[in-house]
Amino acid sequence: MATVPAVPAEDAEPSSGGAPRPPEWRVRLREFLAAHAGRPPQDKAERLAWARGFHADLEEAGLAAPGWPVEAGGMGLELADQLAYHQEMTRARAPKHPCGLSFIVAPTLIMHGTPEQRERFLRPLLRADELWCQGFSEPGAGSDLTALSTRAVRVQDSDGDHYLVTGQKVWTTMADQADWMFALVRTGSPGPGGAGISYLLIPMDAEGVTVRPLRDISGGAHFAEVFFDGVRVPAANLVGEENKGWAIARTSLGHERATAFLSDEFRYRRIVDELLSLAARTGAAADPVVRQSLARIEASVRVLASNSRRALDLVLQGSDPGPAASVNRLVKSEFEQELHEVALRVLGPDAVLGNRERTAPERGRWTYGYLMSRASTIGAGTAEIQRNTIAEKVLGLPSHRGETRS
């Protein structure tokens, strides 16, 4: 890779003599990766099966979840080692875990779950034996949690202690493949700070669950709407206290994002290198105006790398990564858009081709990315909300809702 900036020194390939020996886990990981090397199958279903197999083996080998505590089934590695871990994985082009959302719910379970919940869910999750989807967004409730309206009513009857869930979620990824949904549901009255919201694990094969695919901006169906019609969920699937779900979701979101940024860092580095190559190949890099954009993108990817290391550092020191994570979230969402804007500029006249046109450069991936990244300032809280958060939580400015309301 051409432009990878400063990396830890031990990361370089050991030279013939006198280089420090890599740690034991790293030797094992390299062996594992070498043994599992191979090209991903072309077929989508086969590719999923292949990735699941890889991660099941990885878990078996004790090489999954570098940052998790050992008790939770992870490797308990330190920050620098986690960086090295992700770099090894990226370099080997190891298949991504088929369900990224698993790593949103898992920290929540580790921190707030009952021992039974941890026992039941974590291992299948790591092995990708069970896939997860997230049920936070609703049609009427984007950033405004008081509008969250999927209801969970607690009933105790002959079948035991249950919730009856009724409502609708939207923008759910992998809903059609997921075995479980971790969801925010309304169990109490709306109020500030997400009052009256609980965190519930819902089996997707339960009666009354309907998944309806949702076509997105690219024309593909990467999302779904999920409808609940009186779905029975055991009360044992409640995570944390009733009505305190939002705080739980929020903390673990923050912590998780900090580590998620790490793997993003290497992915972004690779995409930017690919963009630079594209610009060199098309000749666009000879255009001084394009060079300005390329330099800006390069600066952004370096900032992202630095910020995510800092955020993770804070997490590892036991601090709240909140501010740093908020900044990074905003930078990242706008970076993804800008990156693809530059990419389409680099494509030049070919940018008119659709993302399904097989004669398009790199089979339309940049156009596809352009379209999908239009959501990067919408998903996970809009860019506007992220700016509110920075202004209010980091800079301490008064609420944008106006003091007259509070």
Partner: protein
Amino acid sequence: MTTTVGIEKDLREALGRLLAERCDHEHVAALADGPQEWDRDLWAELAAMGLPGLVVPPEHGGEGMGFALAAAAQEELGRRLAPVPAMSTTAVQAALLASGDSAEAARWLPRLTSGEVTAAVAAGRTVDGWAMADDVRATRAPGGWRLSGRVPVVADAAAAGLLLVAAGADGDPALFLVDATVKGVRIDRLDALDPTRPLAGVRMDGVPAGRLAGHEEFTEVFQAAERAALVLLAADAVGVAAQAMDMAVEYAGTRRQFGRAIGSFQAISHRCADMLVAVESSRALVAAAAASLDDPSEDTAVAVDLAAAHALETAVRVTGGCVQVHGGMGFTWEHPAHRYLRRAKAAESLVALPDRLRDRAAAALVARLDHDNEDN
């Protein structure tokens, strides 16, 4: 002046009514997602209104109203994402008019203005604009020329009965007219970012062609076509942006969050205000550029380039903002927001890129300055 304003107002209103009825979102979506490439019926109705003949003088069956009016009409078409080849057809008309070739003009202009035939420009495409198609060879044949080769991406080719081809002839650049319906012309559809302005590859296998412009007239005639295309594309972009802005404002005024309409938050309302400023600015520049095509001066090229750069870029920003203001809703296939973004984004790189247009305009301004200074 008042008359022109009156005619423009009437035309916009009539077009607005027709399009509201015949080209609503459902219709555009069904057409864009379906197998049909463009809206023949709508084109026929537009032709009945005289639209395809706006820039063509009466002696060739047109209205002779000029680009000022054609741009206004194109803005209305853009507003409704009308899937019709007005831009390409007008560009070819402009080439026919600029060539001074009365035989070809008499042959094609009446059929183009009546709406019977539409046209497309088959040229090489660069960031700076149209160029010769590298892979097409023109050879002399008894009674004319024959063309062979391929042009990878041609807008509106699927609809076209007439192709304007830029190709090398005996080593020199030239422009040819090809009847697209003859044997030997093959049109291969491409997946387009903007399905309302369909694209295709064009292959020609020794097809007969008439030479519209030889080496000497090439630049002037080709420029006339490109400028016409840029102005109409820019006018279309103004309409696209204006409608996207209206949608965003409408949504911002009704959708509520935190107990208030989201349009009461400055993050949204100032974005909308900036949209208005950008759209109004584009419209002003496009109107000036169109007027300058009708009444050419040494400033025409600069006026066209600046207007196109501004309008094309504005449309991308405003339609992107429209998606953003709509939140998750704007990200669905069902919502029309993405279709506006697609039309805007594809237009930006269809003929020439905004930054290259700006570069050309600035260079021309500075060069003119030098020239003026030398004169003084």
